[in-house]
């Protein structure tokens, strides 16, 4: 039974059959061709049997294993490797269909390889999940055929495996390194002038253009005969709360990933950096009511707690209630903190409704309101309109983009810091803001 189940035919089989039918039809008119066709028919039969024997001689001639991490990082390319090993005595060709998790909706993935006797080959590919949660990989389907290529034998290899897709820890590590080594400039991040003047002395270091020249240590400069500067320590143990709006407006996807997941990824990145900088990181999520509050802390396990917390976030995308958020912050966050509020406003009027609560929060804390530029609208603005209707559409798109700027100005007018960012650059812009605010000593 298993033999029949694993028995498949190639296109070549059907091509040969078609050719034979054609030859016999010609043979109806020219008897000599019919004789040739008959010979070819038997030859093809012999080859079919031979090919089948070659493929089915051994019981388990093909091994495959899928190697991947236990956790995937959301929104990033995660690499997967399939190792293929065989024991056929001749060169074989393999078509591999890996059973991918249903979330990817990929139906046409196929790898074709040729393996010489004793050869081991790897298939490397990567997947970009855009939703957190459990992803189920199935088995690996491999179809093997020889150079004759008449029969294909299917092998069902490997083991089904579930993978959890977590908020982007790959981004987290990447930005952690950059932030610690002060290399944020390299990935196109604006250099921050340190304006803050904390008096806690840390070290003397070389003067670099852009440093505050009031802090030059003249005695040290004289000794080294080059300019030296006093560096002061950043304030430590400040609270940084990532507040994530899980409401209706955060559902909109960009490049397949919802704004909520962008916000979750950025929260993880910023929490990690805050912890590394010696601050306390916390987390608040809300929609029509406040769903979870993870108090800020700088304990060792805090980052893991935040990661698990972010992983578990679920939402019904209800209308967000900022009054509930205000009440909750008022009660539970007593120390002045940096509040990074990830939300999205589309129009000034929708902001006006929430402005009261935002101002109230800003009184007690340092509020940074983070919302998103609509890159799709931006694309529309940057294309030529070819008809009057196109001009109208473009005008509306420009109005929407302009509205975002108005929202930003409205917030700034009330002393609330803002970040208006394309979804892709969210993490970078948030880090920069955090570093800026820290160095300015505003928290």
């Amino acid at each position: 039974m298993n033999y029949i189940k694993s028995f498949y035919l190639t296109n070549r089989f059907f091509a040969v059959a078609g050719a034979l039918v054609f030859l016999f039809m010609v043979g109806f008119a020219v008897p000599a061709v019919a004789a040739i066709a008959e010979t070819l028919f038997y030859l093809a039969l012999v080859l079919l049997v031979l090919d089948t024997l070659l493929l089915y001689k051994q019981k388990r001639p093909l091994m495959a294993e899928r190697i991947m991490t236990e956790k995937f990082s959301n929104g990033d390319e995660n690499s997967i490797q399939i190792i293929l090993e065989h024991r056929f005595q001749q060169q074989v060709f393999i078509q591999v269909f890996d059973e991918l998790p249903v979330q990817f909706q990929i139906r046409n993935q196929q790898f074709n390889l040729a393996l010489k006797p004793g050869e081991v080959k790897n298939i490397n590919y990567s997947l970009r999940p855009v939703k957190r949660g459990e992803y189920d990989f199935g088995i690996i389907n491999a179809f093997v055929f020889t150079k004759l290529g008449i029969v294909k034998r299917r092998f069902q290899l490997g083991q089904p495996k579930a993978v959890s897709v977590y908020p982007s820890f790959i981004q987290m590590r990447k930005y952690e390194l950059l932030a610690i080594s002060n290399q944020l400039q390299q990935s196109g991040i604006k250099k921050i002038r340190r304006i803050g003047n904390n008096m806690e002395f840390e070290q003397i270091k070389n003067y670099v253009a852009g440093d505050d020249y009031r802090k030059i240590n003249w005695k040290a400069s004289a000794r080294r005969s080059e300019l030296m500067i006093n560096q002061f320590q950043d304030e430590r143990s400040q609270q940084v709360y990532s507040v994530i709006d899980k409401g209706r407006m955060m559902q909109m996807p960009f490049e397949g990933m919802s704004l909520l997941d962008y916000a979750i990824n950025a929260s993880l990145v910023i929490s990690n950096i805050a912890l590394k900088k010696g601050d306390k990181a916390g987390l608040v999520t809300f929609q029509h009511k406040v769903n979870s509050v993870l108090p800020a802390s700088s304990r060792n396990m805090q980052l893991n707690l935040i990661l698990e917390h972010l992983y578990k976030q679920k939402t019904a995308y209800k209308e967000s209630d900022f009054s509930q958020l205000y009440i909750s912050l008022k009660r539970k966050v007593t120390q002045r903190s940096l509040i990074l509020l990830y939300t999205n406003f589309v129009s000034v009027s929708s902001l006006q409704r929430q402005l009261l609560y935002l101002r109230k929060i800003n009184q007690q804390h340092l509020l940074v309101c983070i919302f998103f530029e609509n890159t799709e609208v931006k694309e529309l603005i940057e294309t030529k309109a070819d008809s009057l209707e196109g001009v109208y559409t473009k005008g509306i798109a420009e109005q929407l983009a302009y509205e975002k700027k108005l929202i930003m100005k409205e917030l700034q007018a009330h002393g609330i810091h803002t970040i208006l960012t394309p979804p892709k650059e969210l993490s970078v812009n948030t880090i920069n803001k955090y570093l800026e605010l820290k160095s300015r000593g505003l928290i």
């Binding site: 498949y8 035919l9 034979l20 960009f254 397949g256 609208v377 209707e389 005008g395 420009e398 109005q399």
Partner: protein, 401 residues
Amino acid sequence: MKDKKYLIFFIAIITIYVVYEMQKPKSEDWTVTYHYRDRIPFGTFATHDLLKDLFDQGDVPSSFKTIYELVEQEEVDDNFLAIAGNLIFDDNDFNSLLEHVEKGNTVFLAAQDFSTRFEDSLRFEAYLEQRLNPSDFTQIANELAEETKTRVRFALPNGNEETFVFPTLTTAAYFSKVESDSITEMAWREDGKPVLLKYNSGQGNLYLSAMPLAFTNYFVLHEETSAFASSMLSLLPEDEPLIHIEYYQMGKLESRSEIRALLSYPALRWAIFILLATVFIFILFESKRRQRIIAVIPPVKNATLEFVNTLGQLYHQQKNHKNLAQKRILFWKDYVRSHYMLRTDKLDEAFKLELTRKSGVEKAKVFELVELVERIEANDMIEEGELLMMEKLMNEFYGIV
């Protein structure tokens, strides 16, 4: 879950229908076949049983070949019996038949309709008063049940006469204008029309009956009429072998489709068989799964563009060009302010020069754009052309290619 409900619903409906069909009294199958395997009223299963008793040889074999094939090709020398609705003989058949009879054999043919070959050569005419509609079973059943019957007078070879009563249905056909000397009438309807003829040729006899239905199960098993069939069959010599020729009502048992013609050529036979086998194999093997089913999850759509397009269409229907131009000017001014750090409250000469210098766009273009903006702001109404002009100039200003 919803699908399952429908499935259950459909299964229930089908079950009810099947049960209903099974409950319905089965209607009799009145198809006229004259076939020896059929136990339906108008088959000849019972007749074959009767033949077994009448003839020394016991079982009477059925043949599905023409008389020509039997006589000329296989050189059979037996007596023949044929019962059919109509007997269509071609020249070969007919000549073989006469030849066969002349040689001293007896042939018994029963049909409602004889082909003109018979009528021309043997010089008689056959009439059919009422043709049986083979698909109208209710009509047949009704006619059989009706009281109108016909008497049939039969002159037995031993000189006696016997009378049988048949439903009119059976006696719809009769012979007329029997002009040949070699033909003897042997049975008559009550109006005197002959229904059984004997044609004498050489040493043999050919019997022609216009009442083939009398040989079917229905009448053979019927008390009143069974004797008629056996009497007629007794005309065939009981000690000579007999063959029941079923070709004329059944045709050859093999299929007679066009594909047979193709199959008779070996090359085409190969082609067709390979083609059919390949199609079969294709269906069998290509329908197998290559990987597991991937359920469809509709992706969440970013509806912004749709939203913008709809709004654009709505504004376009209003055709308030001025309003839209103002929106665009607002955006443009913001762009100028944030990119070139210029005040936009006064669009004077100095502004235009400064903007030209800072933006690096051609002076004439910048001036044209700013003047257009001023003009639009000053006017209450603007033309479609101005809106399109602004689009063109702004594209150049923004550097949109």
